[in-house]
């Protein structure tokens, strides 16, 4: 695929996280995966109360401590120490995944490697590594009412991650509802992938050039507001 956009502007990780956080509605219970997703907890829109779930057994926690600080018995799924807030509660692992699998979470945000036209997700195995880790990804992908994927639009080799069909090992079928990339916001609908927003300096046509499936440009498609 074309690398003519190589030097063009991209959203950085924090900005992608900020865009993801705009999706959080008042009262949502949200699980944030390792990487870009977990950064989104810093950008909950003002005035909205959002409850975070971590699959290691906690619902409702506050800020992340810097490495080495905090209570080693209170960490998020990435192993970072977090803080108790009013409303925090703890539970064991099968209860935690009852919450996940039972469709109690409003939103799950995860990183991705490939997202297909139909919303299939591949996010646990880079083929070159041969060995990967499933962890809780498959449960979170099918469990949340709404799955949002935050990832770069293309690979380091400039290969598209928005694909017709995933070539990597799958995490789950037809699960992704929204993809936030470093150049676009794409909604997965029954009719196909709908381009809702594009990064500053980009055009819908340019985003299409870096995407395998035909994107439907939303009537109200616009530049991402930051």
């Amino acid at each position: 695929m074309s690398d003519k956009f190589k030097d063009k502007f991209r959203l950085d990780r924090q900005t992608m996280a900020l865009r993801v956080a705009r999706e959080f509605q008042d009262g949502d219970c949200v699980n944030l995966g390792i990487g870009i997703p977990v950064l989104a907890s810093n950008y909950v829109p003002a005035g909205r109360e959002v409850i975070f779930h971590s699959e290691n057994g906690v619902l409702g926690f506050g800020e992340v401590h810097t490495a080495g600080e905090g209570d080693p018995d209170f960490v998020n799924a990435g192993g970072q120490a977090v803080t108790i807030i009013p409303g925090t509660c703890f539970f064991d692992h099968h209860e935690s995944f009852s919450i996940v699998r039972g469709k109690h979470l409003d939103i799950s945000v995860m990183g991705g490697l490939q997202v297909s036209e139909k919303g299939d997700l591949a996010n646990w195995l880079v083929p070159e590594r041969q060995i990967g880790t499933i962890g809780g990804a498959m449960d979170l992908a099918i469990g949340a009412k709404r799955l949002i994927i935050a990832m770069n639009h293309v690979t380091k080799d400039n290969q598209p991650r928005i694909v017709k069909k995933c070539s990597y090992e799958l995490t789950a079928l037809e699960c992704v509802k929204l993809v936030v990339t470093d150049i676009a916001v794409i909604e997965v609908t029954k009719k196909g992938m709908v381009l809702k927003e594009y990064a500053p300096t980009w055009t819908p046509e340019e985003v299409q050039e870096l995407s395998e499936p035909k994107l439907i440009v939303a009537p109200d498609c616009k530049e991402i507001e930051l």
Partner: protein, 261 residues
Amino acid sequence: MPINKIVASFDKAVADIPDGATIMIGGFGTVASTPTCLLEALARKGVKNITTVSNTTGFGSDVWKLMGYKFAEDMDILVRNRLVKKAIVAAPVSTIYQNTFEKLLRAGEVEVDMVPQGTLAERIRAAKAGLGGVYVPTGVGTIVEKGKEKKVINGQTYLLELPIQADFALIKAHKGDRWGNLVYRRTSRTFNATMAGAAKVTIAEVDELVELGQLDPEVIVTPGIYVDRVIARPKDVKVDDKPISQEALESQKRYKERGSA
């Protein structure tokens, strides 16, 4: 005779674990939620060809020592002593650190059976709850469905997942009493509480033993009936002064950069 599940030493606690046993290891992956002293005792005993059931395969004590932990051993102590034949595990490898398990796996010296984390928890609970199996939606259409019965129920496809039968469960709790009642601290419940009672014999390593009746009945998470042996950690432990490996130092750097494991 008063019931007394308290055992005198970690070596005694694991003395009857035989070669070839299937052993659940509690915790999430952080060393704070790991039954460190039981794992050390198991390594001293040198039990061979074991199958482990756990969330991760361990990061090794260096990683934890760097973070200031005194009880720093995790499942890696079993792996690097070549005691593990096969790991049933949700997260066998890390993206920021090549642990011993990954090295042995790449060398073909251990087997892995990777199970989605929620399915792992449910299969462990199924063993505890006397279920023959459960239908889960997780993993349909992926590598995980291989060899499993698929069934459509109410229009949705599920996989039949069977209980994981284990001989021993080694878990870490915060406080315990002579009946085996346990409480945990915060997110250290995880697989510890899920595995309690799921194996034929459950052995709990606790920070503190308390008198029967000192745990509030409303707060007890694991009823004593699930627990066969309880043993308290020593108040402090001598940290060996072996130098920290270069790999662990680099891993810590990556962890700090990325902010998570």
